[in-house]
Subunit: 223 residues, 2 copies
């Protein structure tokens, strides 16, 4: 899949779709144009709309293809202790690497694909938390589903800001050995040695004393 070699026996719609996934992965849908995608696919512009109807039709086709491709991959290693971060997921499935940029872009942009991926990651994480809790390797949280939701949001944040993290850590590529080691070591330490030295904040919440707002009244609206 996503073969960009010389002997290209893919059908035209597949070539256009793969070119779109590649190009959009670098520039996003807003900045990507039908002409640029067509040029990358080596076809004239007219064929894009002939096969997909419109640019939005192409986007939907790409999203659907991504979802279908991820559904075929069910070998996520639930046995390891690693959380299903995008990094570890891609590491376990290098054949999905060409679409990883597209996925990142989609998470940034939001929308249906982002929601779908978020939900899938939550479900995977929830299962891993369950297995880990049974095995005694993971802590059994009071609200396991909510814990999965929050952990997924965290891991996506780390994924989207991989380049920024690398830069902050003095490197250029997060996957460079030194930088990646420092990053992973820190992340693992955070989930091994709790940030809060004791349970005072948790107890404050459980005794109905919200620590954020001084007046104990949560915010009303967000404009």
């Amino acid at each position: 899949m996503l073969n960009v070699g010389s002997n290209d026996d893919r059908a035209t719609p597949a070539r256009i779709r793969d070119a779109a996934i590649s190009y959009v992965g670098k520039h996003g849908w807003d900045r990507a144009t039908s002409r640029q995608i067509a040029a990358e696919a080596g076809v004239p512009v007219g064929l894009v709309n002939y096969h997909f109807g419109s640019k939005d039709g192409l986007r939907i086709a790409c999203d659907d293809w991504i979802i279908a491709a991820l559904l075929e991959e069910k070998t996520m290693p639930l046995t390891t202790g690693d959380l299903p971060t995008p990094d570890t997921f891609i590491a376990a499935h290098p054949e999905l690497l060409p679409i990883s940029d597209y996925i990142s872009m989609s998470m940034r942009a939001g929308g249906h694909l982002a929601d779908h991926l978020f939900d899938s990651m939550v479900e995977l994480t929830r299962q891993m938390l369950e297995v880990g809790a049974d095995e005694g390797t993971f802590h059994a949280y009071d609200d396991p589903y909510a814990a999965a939701v929050v952990l997924v949001a965290y891991s996506i944040g780390a994924s989207l800001f991989g380049d920024t993290i690398a830069r902050s850590l003095g490197g250029t590529d997060l996957l460079a050995p030194d930088t990646y080691q420092r990053y992973v070591r820190t992340a693992v330490e955070i989930f091994t040695r709790p940030l809060f030295a004791d349970e005072r904040y948790l107890n404050a919440l459980d005794t109905n004393v919200p620590p954020v707002s001084a007046k104990g009244e949560l915010h009303k609206e967000k404009e």
Copy 2:
């Protein structure tokens, strides 16, 4: 600031800039047009480029104004045990609420403002980790700066996916009392009771057995 009431005594450049911040906060720079921004500001299109030269000039002016506005706010409560998440920061500075959407958009899009905000949040978090470690309320991590970087990436992820988190938790608005309580309670529990039930993963890293990357070596400590 960002007054959109009836008695609008702001100068025209300020009105255009505020309208841009508001509109871009909802739609992003790519989808925002000069005409729509001008319409929201109640001025003809020509004035936008007259005062800011170009659309990109307007963007730079907005970014600079945001940075300046945040620089004026130095009252981030370092004494509390709260981490400087975007939520808590906005909660501490409700006058910045009109620009929170613009900030979120900028973090999604990346670029100089996003990098600047990320670095600022890292520095704030690093200070809080230091203070908290001295006070005994926070854990003293082996690499405090890297810990701040990772925690900021996590908090931004939670911030960018606030709506998605709310939806996953069965609500529509993350700041609705029930949903927010469930979210905060879970986040606090995660940072109170470590995900990893023991130190085996941390020890595995420290004994030179990287779980993800094939070849790895222990990094040298931060400068």
